[in-house]
């Protein structure tokens, strides 16, 4: 259950970054990238099924808990291996590792509640429907012209 992003809705306001910082003691686990003048892309942890970060972590501080890639701060030594093992560069370390925990303990992650453009959701069906609609538009009208 990762956070699904509909990039065509993202307005690049960085509210998700700020919300994440607010609930995680000043360190954001989201990075909103501005790709030239074309799009803004919040880069999130994918909570990979076969998560590289959990394979690299030698203390099992990072581990799979159901669909989530969970993080146990008590076991983290801050070695930095997870940061180098993440294919998307969304895990980072200072004295300990920082990564999206889907706001553990809350029903809905704070970034989703905050996004004013409705670009974020944890609803797979919704994300899949939007992706299908986008693909259908490309099929029906062709790409950019």
């Amino acid at each position: 259950m990762p956070v699904y992003v509909d990039i065509s809705r993202c307005i690049g306001c960085r509210s998700c970054e700020v919300a994440c910082k607010r609930v995680h003691g000043g360190s954001s686990h989201v990075n909103v990238h501005m790709v030239r003048d074309q799009a803004s892309v919040p880069v999130f942890c994918h909570h990979c099924e076969e998560a590289s970060c959990t394979l690299a972590c030698f203390t099992q501080a990072l581990h799979k808990a159901g669909e989530r890639t969970a993080f146990d701060v008590e076991k983290c030594t801050g070695c930095g291996l997870c940061q180098l093992a993440c294919p998307f560069g969304v895990v980072w370390t200072d004295k300990i590792a920082h990564k999206c925990d889907l706001c553990e303990g809350k029903d809905t992650p704070t970034c989703i509640l905050t996004c004013p453009a409705n670009a974020l959701s944890t609803d797979f069906e919704l994300a899949a429907a939007r992706a299908r609609a986008r693909a259908a538009r490309v099929a029906a009208y062709g790409g950019r012209r």
Binding site: L55, G78, G80, L84, F88, V90, G143
Partner: protein
């Protein structure tokens, strides 16, 4: 006192992070990382326990043996040329990940690309997906 097997040490920051008495110092310069173990009298072995490479051992204190010191040249990112990690750490990642995870969909060996560039690639990929769907005719 701590004995270090320099061939096993990854150059990570685990030991210097867990040492309760700051006896392990790490000096990061833009191109090099050096780690220095002070001659400690402690009986604590937290660093030994939390070394991912099992490179450290606790040995009895003596006043003559030199303080261990290791240094690593940092690897440069294949894309932006920034220095971002020690080679043994990246080699270790290569050894623990299954081969099918080590190349992305374009065949890029992403382990040798720095985390910042990895994020940029991810953002670029997502952008390509949506600009294809932008059409003047679409509703």
């Amino acid at each position: 006192m701590i004995k270090v097997d320099a061939n096993k040490c990854l150059g990570c920051v685990s030991c210097s992070n867990v040492c309760p008495s700051q006896n392990i110092t790490r000096i990061d310069t833009p191109e090099k990382r050096s780690i220095h173990w002070k001659r400690c009298k402690e009986e604590c072995d937290l660093c030994v326990e939390f070394c991912p490479a099992k490179a450290l051992t606790l040995v009895p204190f003596d006043e003559v043996s030199p303080e261990p010191n290791v240094s690593f040249d940092l690897v440069t990112c294949k894309i932006c040329q920034s220095h971002y990690a020690t080679e043994p750490m990246l080699k270790r990642i290569e050894s623990v990940l299954p081969a099918n995870l080590q190349l992305d969909s374009t065949g890029l060996a992403w382990i040798w690309v720095c985390p910042v560039c990895r994020r940029n690639i991810e953002a670029e990929r997502a952008t390509k997906q949506i600009i294809l769907g932008r059409s003047r005719k679409s509703p």
